[in-house]
Symmetry: C2
């Protein structure tokens, strides 16, 4: 490398579920030029098919590595408290929550984003990465407490008190560029960056098609937000729905 070459960009860790938001996040981070380490989780979620999409998207956007962490034990700890993991006695609600319903839906998974960012932080410190990318969104956010700006700020403060790098002044940053975007704005942004939304899965309760693909149910809250997002963005919806 000659003296005039720019310094190599610092690596970053990116949380990638294979859904619409985190795949858009991946496209944004790749466009920013950071070498990316993508991190996904298998936590007994009913929608594990999204992990296969995550792997394809990570390769497509040039991630240097894609790790899938098996959190199968999470189901045992939290199954009674969320509808979103296998073995839960709760069903995934269909449609948006009615007015007057509890603010935080049954699909909330206790401390999920705290746990995901804790893993991202551990990996980042070991890699020498200081940026943690997460696709949380506080506009069309379904009422999850760990998708709000207050959460992002609190985790950043924690990261810089909990780690060697943080206390030595080499600070971590949580990058959450989707935080204040509507679903339609997220879709428009990803569309500009060439995201293939046909190969992302947002559905909480997908249905296997005859040829083994995972079809979106079209009815859960996540499907409804996604559908409405494409309509509001004025873009064709490439999602394979089981029912329209």
């Amino acid at each position: 490398m000659s003296a005039s070459d720019p310094a190599p960009a610092r690596p970053a860790v990116l949380l990638l579920s294979g859904g619409l938001d985190s795949t858009t996040l991946l496209a944004i981070a790749a466009a920013a030029g950071q070498p990316l380490y993508a991190l996904s989780f298998r936590y007994g979620q009913r929608h594990a098919a999204e992990l296969a999409a995550a792997g394809r998207q990570a390769r497509r956007f040039g991630a240097l590595a894609h790790e899938i962490i098996d959190l199968g034990h999470m189901g045992r700890l939290v199954a009674g408290a969320t509808a979103l993991v296998e073995g839960s006695p709760l069903a995934v609600p269909r449609g948006r929550a009615p007015e007057g319903a509890p603010q935080i839906p049954l699909t909330y998974v206790p401390a999920r984003n705290t746990l995901f960012l804790a893993y991202a932080l551990a990996w980042a410190e070991a890699l020498g990465a200081r940026d943690l990318w997460i696709g949380v969104n506080a506009v069309d956010y379904s009422g999850y407490p760990d998708c709000r700006p207050e959460f992002v700020e609190a985790f950043t403060a924690l990261a810089n008190r909990a780690t060697r790098a943080g206390v030595e002044g080499d600070h971590f940053h949580v990058r959450a560029p989707l935080l204040h975007l509507t679903k339609a704005e997220i879709i428009r942004r990803g569309h500009q960056l060439g995201v293939d939304y046909g190969d992302t899965l947002s559905c909480y309760a997908p249905i296997a098609s005859d040829d083994g693909r995972a079809l979106a149910c079209g009815a859960c809250e996540s499907c409804q937000l996604r559908r409405r997002g494409f309509i509001e963005a004025g873009l064709p919806d490439p999602t394979a729905y089981a029912a329209r």
Copy 2:
């Protein structure tokens, strides 16, 4: 239950490694009368024998459940950055760090207590528990950033922004009663509460004895702190050391 019975105490989650500090913590929490859920981790640590001690201590102090979470994948993420997990190219240092050495030792595991508390938080929210007990200590603390009061405060703030219970005003508390105690004070406290320190393991690099027991090496920083603690407490040291 009659109207005059006291309300049942709220359950709590307690991080239990099977070492001297967390076993003393267990005795303190049990004496406080909370129904306890003990949580341990297998993360490829070189000193996994402490988990067997953790199970025996949890039963001895009446914990309602003891979960061991397998974080075998942590080794893959952080092995290059800590001496404390199997597969690491780094050796556990012998003795205390010399003056002028880096402040944070090689046995630091990136984001370990953040990850442990994240699991404790998830389980606690699912159980209806609001107290998270952790045996961190900032006096004889070996220089770990995630054993300081600033870390405990930052995690508490995060917990109450990240969770359904926290944002609904039913706050989490991180209980860290060992935070400002010396090792000798911890040992005296546990001795009063009947802790059998002969069945705890603090060593970072234990050695298997001929009869299959795990003997403390006597040389690593953790062993040296422990030895000095018993001497300063003026109590007999029941630890089985491989070398004295």
